[in-house]
């Protein structure tokens, strides 16, 4: 059939049942993204004869004789249309994976559609963004579609596009610059993981377990192997007999070795049993359903309390503390019990005591780009993996270990990564893609579906947290007891770290003379839990901040003052329930300012009016976070400059919408006083630098950025040392020629810095809400939302605001809407976006963001981390506002409409 794409005629024959999405991608139009493949996220939106459609829901045959327009063709030729320019200039993206579809959809709207926010949100409900919280998208669309050719005031278009801005404009540290690839991103031209593939790539499909716990008796792949295009079927017999963890850390011993690439026992529904490799994805999918597996079904346990009770089915009975499994005979991966005094005695002597059990749900990261990797053996003989990862170096190291290869013979790199939120601090697909390519001798791609994302990756650890807290009549804490049960699911990836971190800053933030902590992380036959934004803190903070609010309420105290009164401040030790921390210090302290600013902002008017008859209440919560993970986070960075004055920075950390690559170029621009356009960056490639622990724990600026800064300072000094003292425009040729030989690499001057950051500071966030609740339906409407952040010196205010807004949006999702549900068999009951409710534009209110004016001792230029932490205080602030509106305290999240309604029925 013939059709046209972006004005160019195409002649091709789609397969029966093929969607327009894959048909267009096969034709090279990789700007058409796959977020869900089910018509819920909008990432694949295209125009069909001018009408926006979801390409994934459109039979390819229906494009016959019609004109398709993709994001790359919206502006005609290489240009951009107005909404694309606006999305680029207003930072209407973070990872940018949803952006091409967002732009295509918005291009069909009119000035009428953007005239009121509700109408806009209704029109855009078929497009999800997980990163931004939508505020900058709303703003961009409003400006892009204002209908005024001259712009509507305050719009970037009136000022001329930023690229055309006069040279000399400040683009260094402190400037709100947007990523230099912005125009390519909004047009879908910036490649993500699967947008470039080696020739002759084969595809992999997984056979998943239908049982929550079973032993594999036999696998018959003969029917599958006989099918068209099938190259191989791999089972446990083909997999290395090596135990590892999918969770990745700087120290591999942080996680238990409890996972085999393909195992003889399966421990959750959906777990890999076998993989099929075929010429096409479709052939692999068909053959996967023809693999016959015989199981011996084993007893399973889904409830974490039951899992640690005597007689429970054991998931990993052979693991020992040497494997970093604390007590396999009780399904306990990690355990801690410590106290600083007699908590019972202190509670008994307290004027007021609160006691409650709070619980949190499983949450999916729901980053729009699913996990996936492409593996091949390159011409140089190295195993090469292009992947969607936050931790390419850690994946390289573990992949080499599992396969028994030297790490030098393995290269792992990422292109732009379409979101992560902790979910890509894992090795979920690189291992099997690598095994597959070695088996078939061809490049192999493993691109997860959205359903696999729900059933075969990881979720946020659900926790049950009991808090008992006492205070004297003035509100000073007298005792704090926290008892945590964390459900790590079938494997222990991140079980230990999440439990300890979750119970760390959440408890250490408060001074109580007597503290006790009991915590355990437990195996169950559920989909594994893993790293998720906040890394356990959000779950425990939900409970502790709820308890703090209850104490303040009982005592008639202002909740802001309750926090000020009890929080640690410079001079205090950081104590959980044992010895004080040794690596944590007050590099700065912004909590007081955050409390003041939040209270001031909350006093502002409602952004959304309260409907008649709804109950209104205000609530707040505070949170503390260490500025990086404990026990070392490594970054190596280098910088070089040629005689033409062009800089090339290299760092290891990955970009997945966190904005670090933008800040890294700003750092170079700042140190050398050059425009950012003169700086090129290579990153997230094990070939780029010697090592980088990776992009987690909000380390992209405070570790990788700090290393790059150190390299830049060293290079600047080297350049200046060899130069004649002179003013004016630098003569780069002379400067480069004059450096010491130790700082030369070929024709360039060069410097490198190694950083193993161990000393850590703390950052604070305060969230406050005013809400209205309708008791007879359970609806919660946010009338005003405020977050204040102690981010130190803010290196890019627009980006940092974006991180906070995105964190608040994700927090609202976890607090009000999102829950990965498990059915009675242990299967995920809602593995799709139509049933799992990622916030849409209509669900996310404006959040007023204010920054404290701190400058940190440790971070580069005084900066602190600010990516994970904005998420942490959101759920308890909302719960506290609901509590004060209706007089009943929510004890579990999400506080979905049905739960709130039921809570008020009693």
């Amino acid at each position: 059939m013939t059709y046209s794409v972006n004005g160019t005629p195409v002649d091709a024959a789609p397969a029966p049942g093929q969607s327009l999405r894959t048909f267009l991608r096969d034709a090279g139009h990789v700007e058409v993204k796959k977020g869900c493949d089910s018509g819920d996220c909008g990432a694949c939106s295209v125009l069909l004869d001018g009408q926006a459609v979801h390409a994934c829901l459109t039979p390819a045959q229906r494009a016959e004789g019609r004109d398709v327009t993709t994001a790359a063709g919206l502006g005609g030729g290489d240009g951009l249309t107005e909404v694309q320019e606006a999305l680029a200039d207003h930072a209407g993206f973070q990872c940018g994976f949803c952006t091409p579809g967002m732009a295509v959809t918005a291009s069909t709207l009119t000035s009428e559609d953007v005239a009121n926010p509700e109408a806009l949100a209704q029109r855009m409900r078929g497009n999800l963004c997980r990163c931004t919280g939508y505020r900058p998208i709303r703003e961009a669309l409003t400006h892009g579609l204002c209908g005024s050719g001259e712009g509507c005031g305050g719009c970037a278009r009136t000022l001329g596009r930023l690229d055309a801005a006069p040279t000399g404009e400040h683009t260094g540290v402190g400037a709100s610059v947007v990523h230099s690839a912005k125009d390519r991103i909004v047009a879908g031209r910036e490649p993500f993981t699967f947008d470039e593939m080696p020739a002759d790539t084969a595809h992999l499909s997984v056979v998943g377990s239908p049982h929550a716990h079973a032993r594999i008796v036999a696998i018959d792949a003969s029917a599958a192997l006989a099918m068209d295009g099938v190259l191989a079927v791999l089972t446990h017999e083909d997999a290395p007999d090596v135990l590892y963890s999918t969770g990745r850390h700087q120290h591999r011993t942080d996680d238990p070795d409890d996972t085999r690439m393909l195992d003889t026992v399966v421990r959750y529904i959906g777990q890999r049993v076998a993989v099929v490799i075929a010429d096409t994805k479709r052939q692999a999918d068909l053959a996967a359903s023809a693999v016959m597996v015989e199981y011996e079904v084993l007893p399973h346990v889904l409830d974490p309390e039951a899992a640690r009770a005597p007689g429970a089915p054991l998931l990993h009975p052979d693991r020992t503390p040497a494997d970093r499994v604390a007590d396999a005979a009780r399904n306990v991966v990690a355990t801690v019990h410590e106290e600083t005094g007699d908590v019972e005695e202190a509670l008994a002597a307290s004027a007021v005591v609160t006691d409650g059990v709070w619980s949190t749900s499983r949450v999916s990261h729901a980053q729009l780009e699913t996990h996936g990797a492409i593996a091949w053996v390159a011409d140089d003989g190295r195993l090469t993996v292009r992947t969607s990862s936050q931790v390419p170096f850690l994946v390289r190291d573990e992949l080499a270990r599992v396969l028994g290869w030297d790490a030098e013979r393995v290269r792992v790199f990422t292109a732009r990564v379409g979101g992560g939120f902790g979910g890509k601090q894992e090795m979920f697909c690189e291992d099997i893609a690598a095994l597959a390519t070695l088996a078939v001798g061809r490049p192999v791609a493993y691109e997860m579906t959205r359903e696999e994302e729900f059933t075969r990756t990881s979720v946020r650890h659900p926790m049950r947290v009991r808090v008992r807290a006492g205070a004297n009549i003035g509100g000073t804490l007298t005792a704090l007891h926290v008892d945590v049960l964390s459900d790590t699911g079938a494997y222990g990836n991140h079980a230990v770290g999440v439990m300890f971190h979750g119970c760390h800053e959440s408890i250490a933030v408060y001074r109580a003379p007597v503290k006790r902590l009991d915590a355990e992380a437990v195996y169950t036959n559920n989909v594994p839990s893993g790293a998720f934004r906040g890394y356990g803190l959000g779950q425990v903070i939900f409970a502790i901040e709820s308890a703090m609010d209850e104490l303040a309420h009982d005592l008639g105290l202002d909740p802001f003052e309750m926090r000020r009164l009890n929080a640690v401040r410079p001079g205090d030790p950081f104590i959980v329930a044992g010895a004080p921390d040794e690596d944590l210090k007050f590099g700065s302290f912004g909590l007081d300012e955050c409390l003041d600013l939040a209270r001031e902002e909350l006093a502002g008017p409602d952004d959304v009016p309260a409907p008649e008859g709804w109950a209104v209440g205000e609530g707040m919560a505070a949170s503390m976070i260490a500025t990086l993970p404990p026990r070392g986070h490594v970054a190596v960075a280098s910088i070089s400059v040629g005689a033409d004055g062009r800089f090339h920075a290299r760092s290891g950390t990955a970009e997945f919408g966190n904005g670090t690559t933008t800040v890294h170029t700003q750092i170079v621009a700042e140190v050398f006083g050059v425009p950012r356009s003169r700086v090129r960056l290579t990153h997230a490639d094990t070939d780029a630098v010697k090592h980088d622990t990776g992009a987690f724990g909000s380390t992209g600026i405070v570790v990788a950025g700090k290393a790059l800064h150190a390299a830049c300072v060293e290079l600047r000094e080297a350049l200046l040392a060899g130069a004649d003292a002179s003013d004016g425009t630098p003569d780069w040729g002379a400067l480069v020629a004059g450096v010491d030989p130790a700082h030369r690499r070929g024709d360039e001057a060069w410097a490198e810095a190694f950083l193993d950051q161990r000393e850590r500071s703390v950052a604070f966030n305060v969230q406050a809400f005013r809400v209205a609740v309708r008791p007879d339906t359970g609806e919660v409407r946010i009338l005003r939302s405020v977050q204040t952040a102690d981010a130190g010196v803010v290196m890019n205010p627009q980006q940092c605001r974006g991180q906070i807004e995105g964190g608040v949006a994700q927090g609202i999702g976890s607090a009000l809407y999102e829950e990965v549900m498990i059915d009675e068999r242990g299967a995920v009951a809602n593995p799709a976006f139509r049933q799992y409710r990622v916030p849409q534009m209509a669900d996310v209110p404006l959040t007023h963001v204010r920054f404290a004016t701190t400058a940190d001792e440790l971070g580069p230029y005084g900066a602190k981390s600010m990516s994970e932490s904005p998420y942490n205080p959101v759920a308890p602030a909302l719960a506290n506002a609901i509590r004060r509106a209706v007089g009943v305290r929510p004890m579990s999240i999400p506080m979905s409409r049905d739960r709130v309604w039921r809570m008020l029925q009693a």
Binding site: Q18, D37, L57, P59, R62, G126, N127, D898
Partner: protein
């Protein structure tokens, strides 16, 4: 998504093409078919070649909606229409989880045939006494009230090979005043409860619960009932269910609250 098992696609151009082979199914807007894996499905019969997208007022003033009329086209027509019941068509279209992009492809007939509890075209047609012309696989034609087509959430009473040809909305119902309430676990999520109603020119009243119950609950009154009566009837209605989009107790409770609002608006 790609439907891996589909090996054949043919376009129907007449009734003789509607006989389904084993493994075949009809394809209307395709928006549901392509949104989930379809194990066992090997062939698609595209109904787009049949036309079936008429949207016309017949002589007695009935509205005949061809089954292949897109939901977007119906909503746009309703937007232009000054019939008293037209706003309900628009409101029901907007009650779908589907974005305007999906509405541009999804069909009225497909939404009814799929018979999801949250199928808002079922709600609309059930409230307006819509009747479907069903072309049976055996060659006969039946007139079936749309409210009677759903058998369960996502299951219809249509047999394999039965096709909805058109839906007729009678003139008396089109002259009625209508009201609409909707709630989901998120603002634009799939409906947890969809409450619709109409008040005819003679004062009689029809109230309908969908989305909250497995099949439509149609309550008929000679005059607009009191709030207490509506609440009692809604609470007594059968079929409230639990799934990831809402629990049965909540669906029942909010149905009673919001159906009383519908009645109040019609009073």
């Amino acid at each position: 998504m790609d439907l891996a098992g589909v090996r054949t696609m043919r376009t129907a151009s007449g009734r003789e093409d509607l006989a389904l082979a084993p493994g075949e199914t009809f394809m209307a807007g395709a928006t549901w078919l392509y949104s989930e894996p379809q194990p066992g499905l090997t062939g698609l019969v595209d109904l787009a070649g049949l036309g079936w997208d008429e949207l016309e007022l017949t002589m007695p003033g009935d509205l005949r909606v061809g089954a292949m009329t897109t939901i977007g086209d119906l909503a746009a027509w309703a937007h232009r229409s000054d019939l008293p019941a037209a706003p309900l068509m628009h409101q029901c279209a907007e009650s779908l989880l589907a974005s305007f992009k999906v509405q541009a492809a999804a069909t009225v007939g497909g939404n009814v045939a799929k018979s999801y509890a949250a199928g808002a075209m079922v709600a609309m047609a059930a409230t307006l006494d819509g009747v479907a012309d069903v072309w049976r696989a055996d060659g006969s034609v039946d007139e079936v009230p749309v409210a009677d087509i759903p058998a369960d959430n996502g299951v219809s009473h249509l047999g394999h090979g039965d096709a909805i040809r058109a839906i007729t909305l009678p003139s008396a119902a089109l002259a009625a005043r209508t009201a609409h309430r909707r709630i989901a676990l998120a603002q634009h999520g799939r409906s947890g409860a969809l409450l619709t109603g109409r008040r005819d020119t003679d004062g009689s009243c029809v109230l309908v619960i969908t989305a909250a119950t497995r099949v439509p609950v149609v309550l008929r009154y000679t005059q607009v009932p009191t709030a207490d009566a509506v609440v009692a009837d809604a609470l007594a209605a059968p079929g409230y269910y639990t799934d990831p989009l809402g629990t049965a107790d909540w669906r029942r409770g909010v149905s009673a609250t919001l159906l009383a609002e519908v009645a109040e608006e019609l009073a």
